[in-house]
Subunit: 177 residues, 4 copies
């Protein structure tokens, strides 16, 4: 519902009806309307991001790790497009309510990418002169943007298949020669 209408356009009554419960029941599980968003973030989005770390640890060299991360990212967001919408909306807004949560999740992601880039520099597959703190944000931004495009295009094509083209753009830009 938040994905379709946005948080402020969704009323608690609607949410309750969609959930098949009475209005008051909502308040047995959420402190207030805001808390619905907060709990969504803590129990859904955070989990997804936490799963990225495992995926990366499995892969071998840094390029594979980056590929795994991006693929997993796109796959998860494709699997739950509504979460994707809400996550994006929240990330690019400045909502006090969950500002800290957003920062935390974002940092988690950037740390992973940062480690991959450093490892890549050691391996010799990534450029030594990379401005890492920019490069990692650049990568997250580009993936976010790919997701945003997919959403705005109506979720019609296969988002995960964007992995290779994206990696290609990243690597040939940051790859050593």
């Amino acid at each position: 519902m938040f994905a379709r209408q946005g948080f402020y356009q969704s009323t608690v009554s609607q949410i309750a009806r969609e959930a098949g419960v009475a209005d008051g029941t909502i308040y047995l599980y959420f402190k207030n309307k805001d808390d619905i968003l907060v709990q969504f973030f803590n129990f859904r989005a955070k989990q997804v991001f936490a799963s990225f770390r495992q995926e990366v640890d499995k892969s071998g060299n840094s390029t594979d790790k980056l590929r795994s991360l991006v693929r997993r990212h796109l796959e998860e967001f494709q699997r739950d497009g509504d979460m994707a919408v809400v996550y994006q909306a929240l990330t690019y807004q400045n909502i006090d309510l969950i500002k800290d949560q957003i920062k935390e999740v974002s940092k988690m992601y950037l740390d992973i990418v940062g480690e991959i880039l450093e490892k890549g520099q050691e391996e010799g597959t990534m450029r030594k002169d990379l401005y890492i703190s920019l490069a990692k944000r650049f990568i997250l931004g580009a993936v976010d943007s790919a997701i945003n495009n997919w959403l705005r295009a109506g979720r019609k094509y296969d988002l995960a298949s964007m992995t290779e083209p994206l990696i290609d753009l990243f690597i040939r830009g940051i790859g050593n020669r």
Copy 2:
């Protein structure tokens, strides 16, 4: 005010007070509250984006054009950080109200980048095997992301100075060899 509090958190009364007029006066210039957002977009954001075209036309080769576009983009958004906040918030949300306007502005931008990339391919400075419709979105997304990072970091550093590092990442990725 929209930048600080968001659209739904801002009341018409607050807007009127900030503007130094009475509540009713707002309705002499705007059909309703929504219309304030629509008109903002039409007369502020659209103008900015329209100015990009001129900037690009001035420059010489495609790399210079891309550099000019990105620099102008960052400069304008830095100059009016509040507009930047609102623009970003709207872009990554799914507001029916201005969905079309967003698409239009976005298309305007992507068209410019697309032309630059094609020109670059002709000139031999850009890779011939580029998946252009992805690459141009990739570039917009990366610039958006740079702006978003700047906003979330409190607008403290010089955003325009990110131009060269960004271009470097783009070009060495998409440049021909």
Copy 3:
């Protein structure tokens, strides 16, 4: 709880928690929330007032009877300060719910005082020209007021020790002779 927060500020859930039972259990012993107040009045406050009669019957002359009544009144309310709070709050409000109970209890008290005053007139210890129906209310009011002062002062001093000073004021008044 009613003493601390008042009847309307206390929820049935709170009452149940304080009583160490489940919410629903309350409704096995009380018809509804109002009934809690009604039963409190019938089984607690009424008992206390009924006990006054016995106390008075024990004493000898009318002055002693009045002294016994006031002392017992102050002692009982001091013993159960929370009941005192609730009783006072209810007496000076106009709650349909227990209007009749209040009247009954109040009449019970005024009847006792009235009898004492009449006895005193016969004995020659009370003024013959007393406007009895005023005087008895005057006495109840003054005792109530002493209790109210004690409550508002935080129940810190010994309420029962106010008996003598009060009786002195009743009997002799404030005028010099």
Copy 4:
């Protein structure tokens, strides 16, 4: 309406209807429902009590002053019986909201009575052995009680005519001599 139904039994909608305005209009003049009570107290009850001082200053000896005070008190409360109900209900409850206001108003009254009693002692019309801090509360309590009885009896008789009998009881007490 508060006099009739009590504060918690009165809804803002009812208040608005009685006032002949829309619900929202209430909130242009009162911060919230509680504020209605607070403002009532500050602008109505406080004024009444402030007027007592003037009345007392006019009279001559201390007995006259006491008589003037009591008469004015009864007259004002008789004139605005609804205020009387609300004032009494609030005084004998423990509402945090206006606890301080009640204390202030009550102190104002007790101070006046205290001064009168001291003056009476100097004049020789009041007993020298009076426990003044008790005696003044005793007087306020007795007057309050007279008002309360009048209210509960349906405001049918002339409250102000109770002045002389009350003063008589204060001054001479109930004891025969």
